[in-house]
Structure formats: C-alpha cells, structure tokens
Symmetry: C2
Subunit: 360 residues, 2 copies
C-alpha cells in the first residue's frame, strides 16, 4: 500500500513550496506576543530546531505587524501573518514583509477590504490562506445540535465563497483550511472541499485540547486525510509549547511514511515475558539519536530501522527485519545486523551497540 | 458524518461481549511477571481504574498459568492468557479459568495441538484469538524489501489458514488480529481481511515504540480502520505503563465519537493574542474532572462539552457551541451557558466556575 497524493496547485511561502508533489510541510504558530521581539525570536528558533518549516504569528495590532520586518531579517523560516478583524493589519503585515497572510472569512469579509488585501498580496507575490474555523465561521447562528448535521458544508461554503471573491480580483495564490473542533466534521469538510477545488490544503483540527488527547485527535483526522492523499501542509494545534506541535506533526508524517526525520524505532510494549528494563533502553536510544542530530538514512533516502525487543516471541522477527536490532532473552540480547544474527550483547551496552551499528 | 460499523459475529470474553453492535472494547496487557501475584494484581487494578475492559497476561510457564486461578477470583475484569510456543500452557491456562486464549499462528501450528486447545476452549466456552504479528509470522523468510510489497497478504493468509484449521474442528468462537509494526501494512491487512471474513477484529499496531510517537502511530492506524467501520476491540501497544495504553485507547474512541468517558474539553493552542495562562487552566480543569470521577453527560448519553478559549477570534464561537465555555479577553473571561453569554469571570476562578456550571 502506498499513498497517492492528490494533485494540487503549487504556491510558495517564502522559500517553501507546497502543493503538487512537494513534501507535506510542517507548520506551527508562535505563542508569544509578536511585538515582544526577543521572546518571539526565541520561540521561532525553538521551532526551527524542532523541525518546523513555516511559522505563523498572531498580528493583533500595528506593533505586531511592524515587528515582522525585524523578525524577517533574523530567521530563515517563512513567516505567516495571522490576521483577524482588521484589513489594515493585513496591509501592514504585507508591508512589513510577511511571506503569507492568513485571513479568516468569519471576520474580514467586506469585498472592498478583500480587494485591497488581494492587490497588496499580488504586488508582493505572497499567497493568502483562506482559513475557516468552526469557532468563527460566519452567518451561522443555529443551535449546536442543528449545526452538527451540516456543519462541514458550512465550512466548505464559507471557503468557496471567499475564494470566489479573491478569484473575482484575479487572485489565485491561495491555500485553504477548514478546521472544525472534532475529527468527523474536519474529515467531512476537507473531503468535500478536495473534490471541488484544487488549491493546496492546510490541514488541522482546531481547539484540540491538551497534548496527549490533542495529538491523538489531530493525528487521526490529519492521518486519515493524508492516507486519502489530501493535504499539502499540516499544523497540529496543541494547548502546549509549539515545539511539541512540531514533534507531533513529524510523528504523523513519519507514521505514514510520507517523510522521514531520523531512524525509525521499533520496540515492543513489554509484558510478563520481558526480563530487562526495555522502556529505559528505548528512551536512552531515542535521546541519544535526538542529541547527535544525525539522520541515519540508507543512501540519504530510506531511514534506518532499529529494533529493541523484549523477548523471543516477536523479538527475533522484528530485529531481523530491522537494519539493526536486538531481541532480548534472559538478561542478554542477540544483535541482528541486516537480517543476520551477529553477536550477543549485554543489556547495559545494548544502546551503544545499536548506535555503532547504525553508524556503519 | 457518522461511522457505520461493519457487522461481525459476537463473542464473549468473560462478561464483555465484542462484535455486532457492542461498543468497541478497550484492552491492555499487564507487564509484570504473571506469577508475581501481588505485582500483577496491582497492575490489573490500575488498569481497571484507568478504564481497561479486558486484560491480557503473558503465560510463559506453568506457574503463570496456575496464577490465573488466583487472579480470576480477585478481579472483575476478563483475563486473556497470551500463549506462545507451548500448547500445554494453553491447556493449563484454560484449566485455570482464563476467559480467552490468544494463540500465535507463528509458534503454535501443529494440527493435533490446535485440536486439543480448541476442544478444551469449547468445553470451557471461551473464545480463541488468532493473533498474527509481523514479528512472528510463519513461513516467511524473504528479505525486508521483498516482504514489504505483500506483507499484508502474508498476515491475512496466516490468519485465514489458522481459522480454517479451527473451523475444521468445529470451533467458531474466534477473534482475529493482524498486527504489523507500521501503519500502512496494518491498514492493508485489516482492510483485506474484513472483506473476506466476519469474525470480530482486535485492532492494534505492534512494536510502536515510545508513548508519544506510538500513540500517534496507533491512533492513525486504528482511527483510520474504525472510521471505515472496522474493529471490535482495540489495544494500543506502548513501551510505557499499561494505564497509558488505556488513556490513549480512550482518546481514540472519544475522538471518533464512538464512546465517551467524560466531558469533552475544547481548548485553543493559544497564540500571541492570548493574555492568560490558558495551558495551566486547561490542565487544572482536566485534573479536577479526572479526580472527581463524574462522567458529566447530558441525560446519561452525550458527554458535556466544555470550552476554554484564549481570545476573541474563535473563543466566543467555541464557548457558545459548548454546554459551558469561557472565552478570554484581557485578563477577564466571558462565561457562556448553553449558547448564551451569562457573566464575566476572573481568570483565577474560571475552572471552578466552569465546573459548577457542569454540575448543574
């Protein structure tokens, strides 16, 4: 089984292209007050180190908008200005060198205002994301239960209406998002939209809550869409530090084998059969790999696969399948190299043994 | 959009039925040495408190098998004996009162042995899970790259072959799992199998690694299958404490609205617009809800929805949609009750205010 990606239009956000056959890009959002240059820059750098490829900033006032100019000089990452309510802030952000503007059809909807923004974006050759969210979708006053039935349609209609306005001004440099606060509405909205329109899609679930539940919720929705070939860039919203959002986004793309960011670790959950502290060893392996920053790929392409398994049931099978793997028996483990049993290793040295095999 | 579940045969594991229209059941596995009664019982109790509905135990020797008798008297949860290599251990576990036996076609495959186990299981009216795992699938010696192409087929064939043997002995009280160590093979295997055969399916990905990545990987695979209506019981394997597996499984089922275990928390990721410490408030809310143990449902059915939002962009919309919600502006928040703005609340009292609304 392989994922066949939907063909979408290509747009460029600073140096990062999305759509077409470009890799699904990872984005996140800075959570500081944008005009606090020092704090914002620190968080942008954290995001960069974590593997974020596109950064969004809240533009709440003129001072936030002006700050983009200073930030633009200090980071290599594309900066997206998140605009709500005020078309003038969009103009100011474009003027400050934003690489993309996100507009919310729920709160900037006057045609003459959109015309001004589109003209400025066109002149500066930057795209606009039409970002529809369940919490701010316009013209929708029904009760919760009534809403639920056709809520996805409302999100899709809101986006399509806005796109029509932009296209009316001959503006086509567009990305689209349709975020509901739950998996089912989000899936339905993106599926419906992707059948109608080929602008690149920014995937996300809005207001997902705390990290663990939020990552699972986002993972399921974004994962299901990516499996169907839908999605050109993703953001996992978590009520947590932004670098955690990037970690989760990477995990989603790696799980689907759409991208790889390092060796793949295969380890068993352990059970009554396991006689070593496997959890500790796997954490040690993960930490060491994260610290040395090497990508461990086979000829720069497929990521290496490394297995750490607790017993003889699935251990030898998984370890043999991996590029390097250890299956533990009683205290001692058997190291496999490219499918062949190589040598016995003690538990205390297992991680270093695996790492030196990966180096080779 | 609503999930339409595939119709499967119904089987009973102790007091828990799976298949048909029964709720998707959550299971996990104890990680202690089973014969260590004290430690095993402690972990079973932790699993019970976390919401686990079926518990599996490794049966590695006669002493493990015998221990099931003592455990059976001390927990209400159904106990599944995980058997590998030795048909005699299966017999001993059945004799000790196991509520289900898991057999691995990769290591117990002699017809006469399977006949004995099936006869004993039938006499004791307990089901057998045919549990195929990528790490121990039989008769499969090809290299990794060759394997990958049709690996799902090999898992499916292994399960079907085993089922045929069991049915040959007129044994039909069967559940099936087909776990690969990656999302794509796992999906393909379950999809193919579910088109051929209607025994209830136990979903899982094997050897998924550490909690965060593992939960995302499992969430995507299990989530995608459940979305297609496939799956009657789930286990999320994590190299971590078993209660974490249950927490992740609950999050998956809640995200898909297949089951509910408490109020649904909607919260934004925060950004430069947010002027309160929302992360702290959401964590406090989550902790207090977990501690008081109430389910907060509307008439015992739909779970209550509670929103904590950081600013005026999506805040009022999400808070209005929730049964109770707060959208923050500058330091102060606006509390919504069933869609209507009710009163202003300070940040320090927001969680208690929300909880007392939920009580009502």
């Amino acid at each position: 089984m392989k994922i066949i990606r939907r063909k979408t239009k290509i747009i460029k956000i600073g140096g990062v292209a999305i759509g077409g056959n470009y890799p699904v890009a990872i984005q996140s959002m800075v959570k500081t007050k944008t005009s606090d240059v020092r704090a914002t820059l620190k968080q942008i750098e954290e995001l960069d180190r974590a593997g974020c490829e596109i950064v969004r900033l809240a533009v709440k006032d003129e001072s936030d908008a002006r700050t983009i100019k200073a930030l633009r000089r200090k980071t290599r990452l594309p900066l997206v200005a998140d605009i709500h309510f005020s078309w003038r802030l969009a103009m100011a952000a474009i003027d400050s060198g934003a690489d993309k503007i996100r507009l919310n059809p729920g709160n900037i909807f006057k045609k003459n205002e959109i015309r001004e923004i589109a003209a400025a974006a066109k002149q500066n050759r930057i795209p606009i994301r039409v970002g529809v969210n369940s919490g701010s979708v316009k013209g929708h006053q029904a009760t919760a239960s009534q809403r639920h039935e056709s809520f996805a349609d409302i999100l899709v209609e809101s986006a399509l209406g806005y796109i029509k306005i932009l296209e009316g001004f001959k503006f086509y440099d567009i990305a689209v998002s349709l975020k509901a606060n739950n998996v089912l509405d989000t899936l339905e909205a993106y599926r419906k939209f992707s059948k109608i329109c080929d602008y690149p899609l920014h995937l996300g679930v809005t207001a997902t809550g705390l990290p663990f539940q939020g990552a699972i919720k986002s993972g399921i929705a974004i994962g299901a869409l990516l499996l169907e070939g839908i999605g050109d860039t993703i953001r996992i919203s978590l009520t947590d530090k932004p670098a955690e959002e990037v970690k989760a986004a990477r995990a989603v793309l790696e799980a689907l084998e759409l991208r790889s960011f390092g060796p793949q670790i295969v380890s068993c959950p352990t059970c009554g059969r396991c006689e070593v502290d496997l959890v500790r060893a796997v954490k040690e392996l993960e930490n060491k790999i994260a610290l040395d920053g090497k990508r461990y790929t086979v000829n720069g392409a497929r990521p290496l696969k490394v297995a750490l398994m607790g017993c003889v049931v699935n251990g030898p099978g998984e370890a043999r399948e991996a590029d390097a793997g250890i299956a533990f028996g009683k205290k001692e483990g058997l190291l496999f190299k490219k499918g062949k049993a190589a040598k016995k290793v003690s538990f205390s040295k297992c991680v270093d043994n695996l790492l030196s095999e990966l180096e080779e």
